[in-house]
Symmetry: C2
Subunit: 137 residues, 2 copies
């Protein structure tokens, strides 16, 4: 049970910017976490498209949080970054009936969906600001 | 966000045996799901060690559920099979302080642990019997 590396990078980039309190360059973030600029750029593009980051050009440019840290729920970051929320093969959006001989007399998908919702809902209870807090909530 | 293939195989093996209602051979299960006998054997050994399956030798041997399906919580199966519950690198049991420059001023681990507990607790609310039920609970 693991999150994608891209999700990990996204969360750490947001936390880094939140801790820094000012814009940072791609080079600064990639050096801080020892990750490739190419991978980081892809993650940043997804975060910009999701209105979680703003990317500005120019001498004082860089990337910065698009919203106050209190308005960035962790569940939203994970949903945006995990392009595949299928915990097992039969949870994929388009599943052929013959993917598994257990179907349709099997309620595994429903049970896993419910647990995943509990996971994401719990993440939504915490914002980026909670993660940055110097004292545990 | 995905479960290991071994967890997927474990869940499907238990559901298969529950639906069948009688012992099955490794060959029968591996054919049903088109998975390798070697991988299946490893999964079965873990399930036997976890007191979820019983493996019997002999002419009428095979594998069968070790308990009534109502006494097999899905959360227990997932915990037994997922040998790495670390959603991100810093959640691993032994983490060097220098794994991430954000530590220790970062509460991400705590937030992810809490969400993972919600995931597993929700899975514990369903048993193998619920997954086998012909009507949705």
């Amino acid at each position: 049970m693991q999150l994608n590396l891209s999700t990990d990078i996204a969360l750490r980039t947001l936390i880094y910017l939140g801790q820094k309190g000012s814009p940072a360059t791609i080079a600064q973030v990639s050096e801080a976490f020892d990750i490739s600029k190419t991978h980081l750029m892809k993650v940043v593009m997804t975060l910009v498209a999701a209105n979680l980051l703003i990317s500005e050009r120019g001498r004082n440019g860089g990337i910065r949080l698009a919203r106050d840290a209190r308005d960035i729920p962790i569940g939203e970051v994970v949903r945006q970054m995990e392009n595949n929320l299928a915990l097992v093969a039969c949870m994929k959006e388009q599943v052929a009936d013959d993917i598994c001989p257990l179907m349709p007399a099997c309620h595994l998908r429903g049970v896993l969906f419910k647990a995943q919702q509990a996971f994401l809902t719990t993440l939504d209870e915490s914002s980026l600001a909670d993660i940055l807090a110097t004292q545990t909530k």
